[in-house]
Amino acid sequence: MPKEMKIKAKVKDGITVVKTIMYHPMESGSRKDADTGELVPAHFIKNVQAELNGEVIISAEWGTGISKNPYWSFEFEGGKPGDTIEISWTDNLGKSGTGKAVVK
């Protein structure tokens, strides 16, 4: 099974920094295939959210302008080692992905 997401979460001086890469093509629907010359159908993440110990702390709406294999970093206060981070997304084709990490 291909890897869907990479997440790192580390607390320092009371601030937890989370860095993630989601493996997704983020096709805008206006790019042409180099070989066939045909438009590649749109396929992009629309909604993303991050949970801390099961509680949503950031939710987001994305358009087609987010780069392929999206990188996203965010921060929160009051985290501690052992806390769980869960990040999940849904895309325009109704597919979804999720990843979990433990704060270090």
Partner: protein
């Protein structure tokens, strides 16, 4: 009579769908405002995002490169010293779909975003912050030497 009954049934169906959708998305997923995201011009996209509300200067920090060799992946960071931040939004004024993203902040999260965006050509990256009902913005010019496939 027949027409009005049909309209009544249609409206009932629409509102039923609406409530079902609202119920599914109310707690976790934010709605995805397709009309504003699908806008192909900057000013209509901006209006779809903020309506006619005034944009104030200051309080928003935007980091973007002066020159981006690859428009397909341009790193941007947005932060603010404002409190009670509801959301941060990022736009690219020359992109085929100018509105790129919006992040909502809840609970313990800090009003900070770091991500990578596509820019079709040299343009301005615009960051908008909504805090205490007011909107603050700043922009940064980015020269793109190879456009992203957006």
């Amino acid at each position: 009579m027949a027409i009005s009954r049909r309209i009544f049934i249609q409206r009932s169906l629409y509102s039923g769908t609406f409530f079902l959708g609202a119920g599914l998305f109310s707690q976790t997923w934010a709605a995805w405002p397709s009309a504003a995201f699908d806008e192909t011009e900057y000013l209509p996209a901006l209006k779809g995002l903020i309506g006619d509300q005034e944009l104030l200067d200051g309080h928003v920090s935007l980091q973007a490169p002066e020159i981006a060799e690859n428009g397909a992946t341009v790193p941007v960071k947005v932060s603010t010293d404002l409190e009670n931040v509801e959301w941060i939004s990022i736009l690219g004024d020359k992109n085929p779909r100018p509105w790129i993203s919006r992040f909502y902040f809840h609970g313990k999260s800090k009003p900070f975003v770091s991500t990578r965006i596509k820019l079709r050509e040299s343009s301005h990256v615009v960051a908008i912050v909504k805090a205490d009902g007011k909107l603050y913005s700043t922009k940064s010019a980015v020269k793109v030497t190879a456009g992203g496939c957006v």
